[in-house]
């Protein structure tokens, strides 16, 4: 998980720097594991039935990431990776390990 957090942060830096090609490759690479992490967290939320707001937020983050990727909105992608995805990954680390 540490590695994924690091990858997300490094990718965000590349995006802020407009190093598109390298950054896009990274986004493609981490998109699937991030999706899996969110999926796992949603499953936990559903089991516990107490994390409705978090679930909604995480789904929204994922949706925004995919949308900004499609629109090539490089700054939004960077913000999501730097501030939101890393937070989700840290939550995963805490809850699931």
């Amino acid at each position: 998980m540490e590695e994924l957090i690091q990858q997300a942060e490094e990718t965000a830096i590349l995006l802020y720097q407009n190093q598109e090609r390298k950054a896009y490759e990274n986004v493609q690479r981490i998109l699937q594991p991030v999706q899996q992490v969110i999926q796992a967290l949603i499953e936990v939320a559903e089991q516990q039935g107490e994390m409705e707001k978090e679930k909604e937020w995480m789904l929204n983050v994922l949706k925004c990431l995919v949308e900004s990727y499609k629109a090539q909105d490089i700054l939004q992608m960077a913000d999501i990776l730097k501030y939101e995805i890393t937070e989700i990954l840290k939550i995963y680390q805490e809850i699931i390990g």
Binding site: L15, Q17, N18, A71, Q72, D73, I74, L75, Q76, Y83
Partner: protein
């Protein structure tokens, strides 16, 4: 409002022209209200923009400053004398970071493609430090974007073009794709132009000065091009286009059609097309030739001798000798000395034609100067249509055509029908020039490509010559009569004054030689002190000042430009890596400077040998 006021005050102080242009533009500009004022989580302002039902944030919504710092970190290692071309001003934070990484030898040329963004930034962000920074050149769409090219041209030269870098602010390439492509293409164009200019200068160095020396005398007896332009400008040319006839292979197809435009258009024939025009009995107004080494066989037709010609001061001297009609001179490149004399005589009206490198681009610039609102291009293939390089009057020989093609460095471009066609690198550069010109002048001038073949020139209107003449040639004018009415530049007394000045050139050369010898000595002493490590003495500082002043030699002695032509190879060799070779020490640079100055002394000798070309023409 305080921020806006502060920014405007600094603009007024530091960039009054930009402020004036901005205010003038804003009076007529209706904002579309696409720009949204946003703040990041730390309360920093940044602009966002609505496009395609999506809000695009032009900086980080969390921490705009941090994002800008990261961008700057990627460009920490900026080399001395490097020039950066930045697409997008944004909120100014990235600009500030790049400037932090620069020193006084660098320039940052910023092009903001969205005026609304800059207006919001002026209101909400204190950018007075950026406005104040003399290393910044700010270009704003709709305000001064027409200067973009001249700023790129002015900041790029043979010594620094490898250090030219293009940066794009995040998001700008997606939001302003077309303008971004245009910006990048412009920079690539000027990079190529630097190399081509260098090769051209090396190849034509001697011929250029010989021609100028020869034609200077003729200039005093003929007319400055500005006089012809003024005359034609007197006429309202509505319904009368300028037609520029070039010698591309497609000219064979439609040259006869030009008959229908006689008297209803101002027809300019470029040198290689002149024979084809007279052979087909086309009445045209002027010929134009700007090449310093044009093949004289192109003018071998008696009927051409009296056709008025537009020339550069450096145009082929053989043509001037042979020609018997009116000649109109542009005095741009190489005309510094003549201009100095004219200024001394209190006369500063002259014309220096813009050029994109070819005679046809100069012809377009001429037509624009004359005030024509429609320009029709004919025979402007800019490609090897059907494997041929020229109209049949220039080259009928298949074998020659094949060899011509083999000698050129070929590339492929799209033709007017959407297929690919072969061209060479030089013509590819001209295609870009025409496309740029058509785009830049689109509000004032319509450029029609009526070649009916060859490369597709973007931003032009493609049609047949028949259609173009039918739609555009609606009125009539006797341009030939107007041309004959153009006055000569000088009266006899003024001519005598010019001739007298010409006779004083040898004295000026003696003074220049002496100064160059002194400069060499200064460099030698400077190098000695530098080697001995005596760099804080008064003598060292005095010499440092002196060697810095040597660079302005061309400004002090207007003949220097002509003399330097003989020294171009030495100049290029000595300066090619002067900014890029990090191992060069001050002593090495001084050695190179000495080599250049010695080269100039040698060049004076060669110039003196050629000087009789001018002096022998003067009346006794």
């Amino acid at each position: 409002m305080e921020i806006l006021q502060k920014n405007k005050e600094i603009l007024k102080k530091q960039r009054p022209q930009l402020l004036e242009e901005l205010e003038k533009c804003l009076k007529e500009f209706t904002e579309e209200q696409r720009v949204i004022v946003q703040y990041d989580l730390k309360g920093n302002f940044y602009p966002a923009i609505m496009k395609d039902n999506r809000e695009w944030h032009l900086n980080s919504r969390y921490d705009a400053e941090y994002a800008a710092v990261l961008y700057g970190k990627n460009h920490e290692d900026i080399k001395e004398y490097a020039v950066y071309y930045l697409f997008g001003f944004g909120d100014g934070r990235v600009v500030r970071q790049i400037l932090k990484n620069m020193n006084d030898t660098n320039y940052l040329v910023i092009y903001e493609p969205d005026l609304e963004i800059f207006c919001r930034v002026l209101e909400y962000e204190d950018i007075s430090d950026i406005i104040e920074d003399e290393r910044c050149i700010i270009i704003l769409e709709k305000v001064n974007e027409k200067k973009l090219e001249s700023f790129i041209d002015g900041t790029m030269n043979y010594s620094n073009f490898v250090l030219a870098n293009v940066l794009i602010l995040p998001g700008y390439d997606v939001l302003y794709t077309k303008r971004c492509r245009y910006f990048i293409d412009l920079i690539l164009y000027y990079k190529k132009k630097v190399v081509i200019n260098r090769n051209t200068e090396m190849n034509r160095k001697m011929k250029l000065t010989e021609n100028i020396l020869h034609n200077m005398y003729d200039y005093t007896r003929q007319s400055d091009l500005s006089l012809l332009i003024e005359k034609i400008k007197e006429k309202d040319t509505d319904g009368m286009p300028a037609i520029i006839v070039s010698a591309g292979p497609s000219l064979d197809k439609n040259i006869k059609e030009l008959k229908k435009a006689e008297g209803k258009a101002f027809i300019i024939g470029v040198d290689a097309a002149l024979k084809a025009l007279v052979r087909n009995g086309i009445q045209f107004q002027v010929g134009i030739s700007v090449d310093p080494a044009k093949d004289m066989t192109l003018f071998e037709d008696e009927r051409l001798e009296k056709i008025p010609m537009v020339l550069e001061l450096y145009s082929t001297s053989g043509l001037v000798e042979k020609h018997r009609g009116r000649r109109f001179y542009s005095i741009g490149y190489g005309g510094e000395y003549l201009l100095e004399l004219r200024k001394q005589m209190g006369d500063v009206s002259y014309c220096a034609l813009r050029t994109g490198g070819s005679v046809a681009t100069a012809a377009v610039a001429l037509a624009e100067e004359m005030g024509f609102k429609t320009i029709i291009l004919v025979g402007q293939d800019l490609a090897f249509t059907d494997g041929r390089g020229h109209v049949s009057s220039v080259c009928d020989d298949e074998e020659k055509n094949r060899k011509h093609l083999e000698e050129r460095k070929l590339t492929e471009v799209e033709d007017i029908n959407g297929n690919m066609v072969q061209t060479d690198w030089q013509m590819a550069l001209y295609i870009e020039w025409f496309a740029k010109e058509a785009y830049n002048e689109r509000d004032k001038i319509k450029i029609i490509d009526a070649t009916e073949g060859g490369a597709k020139i973007a931003n032009t209107h493609i049609m047949t010559l028949k259609e173009a003449i039918e739609t555009e040639c609606r009125n009539e004018a006797d341009f030939n009569h107007m041309i004959q009415e153009v006055p000569f530049t000088f009266n006899e007394a003024e001519q005598d004054k010019m001739y007298y000045e010409f006779t004083t050139i040898p004295e000026r050369l003696c003074r220049l030689r002496k100064k160059l010898e002194e400069d060499i000595e200064s460099y030698r002493k400077f190098k000695e002190l530098e080697t001995e490590g005596i760099t804080s003495s008064a003598e060292y500082n005095k010499l440092l000042q002196k060697v810095q002043d040597i660079d302005s030699m061309e400004k002090e002695e207007s003949l220097m430009f002509l003399i330097a032509q003989y020294n171009r190879r030495v100049e290029y060799e000595a300066t090619a890596d002067i900014y890029t070779n990090e191992e060069l020490k001050i002593g090495d640079i001084a050695d190179r400077a000495i080599k250049i100055l010695e080269g100039y002394i040698q060049s004076i000798e060669e110039f003196e040998k050629d000087l009789p070309i001018l002096l022998n023409q003067l009346p006794v």
